[in-house]
């Protein structure tokens, strides 16, 4: 095959990848519509679309769609997108396929923060009580990632060190959470356990807006770093040789990961495995050119989370399962598959 034929094939491959990213975006939007039509009060798709497009509908329908279901559905979409993007960047900069906010202690730290608010009543003064748990969860998870970066820097910032610290943080936060659960009253304990299972029910347009803003700010920077991130996948020495400041790349990527993960987790509780499964499915679809991998991860995560939100309403009729439980049930097989496939470094 001649050089120009090979280049043609390369361009065709890229167009196919772009199309796949577009398809994932469309699927994610369809998943949101399905999510919107699912719920205790049966609303057909046509009625939902009529409501969304501003047509004349009964007031009850309007309230269900705009105030109850839409914030939840949009939040599911955003949380999935945020966690999968965080997972994709983390896996690349820590050079580990199992890295994600959940496995490296961010979620555990958020749960500990929520526990401190729920059980001990300690939170930021002068904050509306409704935001206390969220604020604590946010600060603790951001703190966990900050600590991770600091520890990493003390020891040279290599990926192995960061991974080990992340795992240690995970266990530390879990241990303190157990302590809180032990001393908690029955009522507090129930609230805490439900929080740690992850739920979309407490969200409102305010929290949706905050997460949307965080995503809007971080995504452009992530996309701008996509060539550097791809270079890092070839190895740290290679990337440095190409002129990439790997230390700075790692630091900024982890800052983006911190903001995305801390915001998402603080608003909906512990959501496992989206940050793991999203990027891995995306990688299988479009490869590791981060110009495609990052957007594909975002839409795959959004799609998975929307599907989980829908499933959480359908799995047991009449019961709304915590969405974090559903994502774990979806994600665990992926996790095992990744380990059993036994190809390190991918």
């Amino acid at each position: 095959m001649s050089g120009s034929e090979l280049l043609d094939r390369y361009h065709r491959q890229n167009r196919r990848r772009a199309a796949l990213v577009g398809a994932m975006a469309v699927f994610a939007l369809i998943a949101v519509l399905v999510d919107l039509t699912t719920g205790p009060s049966g609303l057909p798709l046509s009625e939902t679309i009529r409501t969304l497009t501003g047509a004349e509908v009964p007031r009850g329908t309007s309230v269900i769609v705009w105030q109850v279901r839409l914030p939840v559905a949009v939040m599911a979409l955003l949380v999935g997108a945020a966690l999968a993007l965080a997972g994709a960047e983390m896996q690349t900069v820590l050079e580990n396929p199992l890295a994600e906010p959940f496995t490296l202690g961010v979620s555990a730290a958020a749960a500990l923060g929520a526990g401190v608010a729920i059980v001990l009543g300690l939170t930021i003064p002068f904050l509306p009580p409704a935001w206390g748990i969220t604020a604590n969860a946010f600060l603790f998870s951001l703190g966990a990632l900050g600590l991770l970066q600091l520890m990493g820097r003390l020891r040279g910032g290599g990926p192995e060190v960061l991974i080990l610290f992340g795992i240690a943080l995970n266990f530390t936060a879990a241990a303190f959470l157990s302590l809180l659960q032990f001393v908690a009253s029955a009522e507090d304990l129930q609230q805490l356990v439900i929080w740690t299972m992850g739920s979309l029910q407490a969200v409102n347009w305010g929290s949706v807006t905050i997460l949307a803003l965080v995503i809007a700010v971080t995504v452009p920077f992530a996309l701008m770093a996509s060539w550097k991130l791809t270079a890092l996948r070839l190895g740290e020495e290679q990337a440095r040789g190409f002129g990439v400041d790997v230390t700075a790349l790692r630091r900024w990527a982890l800052l983006r990961v911190s903001l995305l993960a801390a915001t998402a987790v603080s608003m909906v509780g512990v959501i496992g495995f989206i940050g793991l499964a999203g990027p891995h499915i995306a990688r299988m679809l479009v490869g590791e050119d981060h110009r495609f991998l990052l957007p594909a991860s975002i839409f795959t995560g959004a799609l998975l989370m929307s599907a989980a939100s829908t499933l959480s309403k359908l799995l047991i009729t009449g019961t709304l399962l915590p969405v974090g439980l559903v994502t774990s049930l979806i994600g665990l097989p992926v996790f095992f598959w990744l380990i059993l496939r036994g190809r390190p470094g991918r």
Binding site: G3, R9, Q13, W227, T230, A231, Q238, R240, R346
Partner: protein, 271 residues
């Protein structure tokens, strides 16, 4: 065009590997080999020149102090082929070479990056691998890809860390003759090689590093001598010329008691 190294010291953390090393200027069009026993600091010195290891002293290309340049600016004029092979990412060969071009933030000037990357693959005779996944390649093929990544930015200074370690005999010759052609285009090439016969055949000058400093520097015939091999590597050796006049290095054994060199302990040193 010349590369200047004056009073260069480098190492890892507190451990000094190279102390106060100065070299006669390396000139464009020439291939210089860095050789020496294991742990002599060859790779570390190469990394310092590439800006990947901290150093003190002066390293300058055409009078331009390399330490003053930002990483992307340095990457434009210095190509570095590390010893480690590119890992098995889900990327094809062409993508990795394009990445090597784009990661430093360089924008397309005259021709699209993919055209430049493809031209380099053609030049190295690995264009048939363009769309093969990196994880499907043999070690030797990856080493060729690594060279493609190092030369795609058309650097004025090319640094190669054991570029032939994973290559079979035919590919060693192909790579080194390509390296000679690259030098002939007016570039400076500095390479680490363990095989002194190979170094003698393909380089203009050889620098022998030993005990953190420069032991010898000059044309192969002046540097590669039984006395040097005994003192630096701790081996009993003969250096002879073949019927075509090329140097041949024959190792007959180790010097009992280890002579003065660390090489006696480092059995990995080959020549």
């Amino acid at each position: 065009m010349s590369l200047t190294l004056r009073d260069v010291s480098t190492g890892y953390g507190r451990r000094r590997v190279i102390a106060g090393l100065s070299l006669p200027d390396l000139r464009s069009g020439e291939v210089t080999t860095l050789a020496g026993p294991n742990a002599a600091g060859k790779s570390t010195l190469l990394k310092a020149i590439a800006g990947l290891a901290p150093f003190t002293g002066q390293i300058a290309l055409d009078g331009q102090d390399l330490a003053q340049l930002s990483a992307p600016a340095r990457a434009k004029i210095v190509g570095f082929m590390p010893q480690s092979l590119p890992s098995g990412a889900s990327l094809n060969v062409l993508e990795t070479v394009i990445t090597a071009l784009r990661a430093s933030g360089e924008r397309a000037v005259t021709e699209p990056p993919e055209t430049r990357a493809m031209a380099v693959l053609l030049r190295l005779g690995i264009d048939h691998l363009a769309l093969a996944g990196l994880d499907q390649l043999s070690g030797g093929q990856r080493q060729m890809v690594s060279l493609a990544q190092a030369i795609v930015r058309a650097p004025r200074l090319l640094l190669l860390d054991e570029p032939t370690s994973a290559l079979d005999l035919a590919r060693q010759v192909r790579l080194l003759s390509e390296v000679r052609r690259i030098a002939a285009e007016g570039r400076i090439v500095l390479t680490v090689l363990h095989d002194l016969a190979l170094a003698a055949r393909w380089s203009d000058r050889i620098a022998i590093l030993h005990k953190g400093g420069l032991y010898a520097f000059g044309p192969p015939a002046e540097v590669v001598t039984p006395a040097m091999l005994g003192e630096v590597y701790g081996v009993i050796a003969r250096v002879e010329r073949c019927s075509q006049g090329h140097l041949m290095v024959q190792i007959d054994g180790e010097i009992p008691g280890g002579a003065s060199g660390a090489g006696a302990k480092e059995r990995g040193a080959q020549a």
